[in-house]
Symmetry: C2
Subunit: 460 residues, 2 copies
């Protein structure tokens, strides 16, 4: 029995690379490297490749068994995949793609060079080619784009015994049943989806029962146009392994399996984490510097604009700062407290929107509660910072103004943290991407302006 892996991919990758670098021309070393890689599944190899810098990545890629290369390409992030595709011969790519499922091939269709696509499609059977065309009609991130076409389909008017005989015949014909087959899809005579028949029922119930009285009718077919993240939610909430995908008239088009939904959830989670830093989930952490730099540079530019707006605000109060340098010392504290408080609310609300837990129906109440939290927390810190400023600079009025500005900016950050993501999502803008930038602009501007204006009025 092979041992369960899930080891550190960067260590295994490093050990294989070391081997190749020391004795790269040596057949025995190459065999040893292949032996170390052999127990890994395709997605584990993809993780390993992603943990290597580009040149080393290629030397491992070239060692891989052709049978696994197609799956490895699919499991890699977009940038890493792009590199591997660019550096492989069309023949190697065509051989890799001949072995992958049609639904995966559809996902890669636009990334593969035209000669590879032509070679793969030319070698396909007519049925597989039609399946590919059906899939290509739907966006990649919809139920239709994610479905497999390998559902086992049975009619409702037969008995379980007939179903089992059919499965045995199918097994002999195809040498196996499709992966992750927990249920068979039942259709009526027009090919419309009627219900799901679980293998557990086929195997454990009286063989003379009919499919019609055994199948579950309460598992609805998923419309092919449903967005992937909604499908993933249904899978998670209902603990599904597979589900039927149907067209507008209820005809069975294919099936979706839980492994693809796990990938969708992972992508969603990555997006929520990475978008606020201006990064995307297909990023290659070892991309060459000149490929990584442009996108990061643009993101810094967006934030620079923000920072200059704040600087302009400060500049308006130059006279006050000239008179009292303590204002320059304390003003970043005001901006930062508003930013931190606002970011907490922003994170919670953006996540609530993504989970469909926050929306128009409860936005007002949520805002009220957030303002309450901000007042309690803000009042406490206003007293503390006011006292610190008083002790540090010996000015009561400075302490009062500093405390008041902190309170104001904590409340401002919290209100903005609630309203900015709700507003962006109503405008159709992704709050995970743009929310943080907007929030920082607001808390910086309000933080600097409120503190300096109050100081100008009451202190200087």
């Amino acid at each position: 029995m092979s041992s369960a892996p899930s080891q550190d991919f960067h260590s295994l990758g490093a050990s294989v690379i070391e081997l190749l670098q020391q004795r790269g021309d040596d057949e025995a070393a190459i065999d040893e490297a292949r032996r170390r890689l052999a127990p890994l599944h395709a997605s584990e190899v993809a993780d390993l490749l992603e943990s290597l810098p580009p040149a080393q990545r290629l030397s491992v890629w070239r060692l891989l068994d052709a049978a696994i290369t197609g799956e490895v390409l699919l499991e890699s992030s977009e940038e890493v995949r792009g590199q591997l595709i660019r550096e492989s011969t069309p023949e190697r790519l065509a051989a890799a793609m001949a072995l992958v499922d049609v639904d995966k091939l559809a996902d890669l269709y636009d990334e593969l060079p035209a000669p590879v696509i032509d070679a793969v499609i030319g070698a396909m059977q007519a049925q597989r080619r039609r399946a590919l065309e059906t899939l290509r009609r739907f966006p990649e991130d919809s139920a239709g784009g994610l479905m497999d076409q390998d559902a086992i389909v049975v009619r409702s008017d037969v008995t379980l015994e007939v179903v089992q005989r059919y499965l045995r015949w199918l097994r002999r014909q195809q040498g196996g049943l499709p992966e992750l087959t927990d249920t068979l899809m039942v259709v009526d005579t027009q090919g419309r989806y009627a219900g799901a028949l679980s293998l557990a029922d086929v195997v454990s119930l009286e063989p003379r029962r009919s499919v019609a009285t055994t199948m579950r009718r309460d598992i609805a077919g998923i419309p092919a146009t449903m967005p992937a993240h909604k499908v993933a939610r249904i899978f998670r909430d209902r603990d599904l392994i597979s589900a039927a995908v149907v067209d507008d008239d209820g005809h069975l088009l294919g099936r979706i399996t839980v492994d693809d939904m796990v990938d969708v959830m992972q992508d969603e989670a990555d997006h929520a984490l990475l978008a606020p830093a201006g990064l995307d989930e297909e990023h290659d952490i070892f991309a060459p510097v000149l490929r990584s730099a442009p996108r990061r540079t643009i993101w810094l530019g967006v934030n620079l604009l923000n920072a200059f707006i704040a600087a302009w605000v400060i500049g308006r109060f130059g006279a006050a700062i000239e008179q009292m340098v303590a204002l320059a010392v304390l003003m970043p504290v005001v901006a930062s407290m508003g930013g931190v408080a606002g970011n907490q609310t922003l994170t919670l609300v953006t996540r609530g929107i993504a989970l469909d837990q926050v929306g128009r129906a409860n936005a007002r109440r949520l805002l009220g509660k957030e303002i309450g939290v901000a007042l309690v927390s803000g009042l406490f810190w206003a007293l503390v910072v006011g006292a610190v400023a008083l002790a540090w600079f010996g000015s009561t009025s400075l302490g009062l103004v500093f405390g008041a500005a902190i309170l104001l900016n904590i409340v401002n950050g919290t209100v903005a943290g609630t309203l900015v993501p709700l507003g962006l999502s109503r405008l159709g803008v992704d709050p995970a991407l743009a929310g943080g930038v907007l929030l920082t602009a607001l808390t910086d501007v309000v933080g600097f302006a409120s503190f300096l204006a109050l100081a100008m009025a009451f202190v200087v």
Copy 2:
């Protein structure tokens, strides 16, 4: 066929609440509210409850059918669950818990009041009680703590026909097979796990074949002590539905199913998203103000300490600012650019560590690449901001110093963004929680100090 839901839970929640508020004493209204909730699965009800403020949450909770309440409690976040437990009678809780799986009961063991636990355990059959004791031996976030005890176990020396007869018998005895049964667990005569027998094989292969020649031996048993996130990785990488859990000697203890692993992945993703804002994944977005405020307040305090350190640094250069107020105007730009650049790297590296893609073996190379990106991006923006400062304040030396400080702090942020999470994780501190705070402290201090010191030396 029920329609696929995944609707907005806050809207459905609001509609039920409206109904109860308008005609709460009316039996027909309560029936109507129950009817609207009936199609929801337990985890959907939990999502809905989380989207409601506490008082309204309770009125919906009281409407729920007893059969679903146990599952709803399990699917709720810890804080929401705490509220529901506090507000329910011991009898209602005991009735709810009598219906949930033993592994879930083990998870809630420490959250339920003692009288409820006693009542539930008192009413248990001896077998269920022993199963609960086995589970309680393992931490909640290990394979042993997550396993079910409902695996169907067969011996390897029987034929598939015997297995199918056994499944039919079991079905008649228990009225059904356990949920998510895709494979049967095969054990030897000592109860040691020997392999997995898929239902698809039982149903589609020749009945006279033996289990021994049919079972898959390449799916290893998962050690009961393996941490949950490693188990989830194996499920994701190997597209598993269920897997056997074994003790040190290879004895079969139970099985883990993919639905629990999906929850683990979700929790991990939530943690990665929420921890950097000082929030935790069990947070109730509608928690009462006085419960939410303390934790948020502490987080603001940690950041306040940071901000005061930065303020102290600025204060050291008060004389320079007094002479040239432009320094006060521009210094937040330097701090913020370092912070944004650093946060990008921090996010990527923290995620890479969590995915086991970044570690000692490739840290140095990653650092080199990140410094490269920082130099390209930093040089570009140094030129831009230098020119802006020159145009704004008409001082070449100020422009040069401002540009140099920006470049320095972008490189500083990037280096810190790489080394801080690697260092924290080597010290056993969660980089998702503490990384951002430390990084901000570094980019603020270095940003302010480098700009003001350079200005003091070359400009003022």
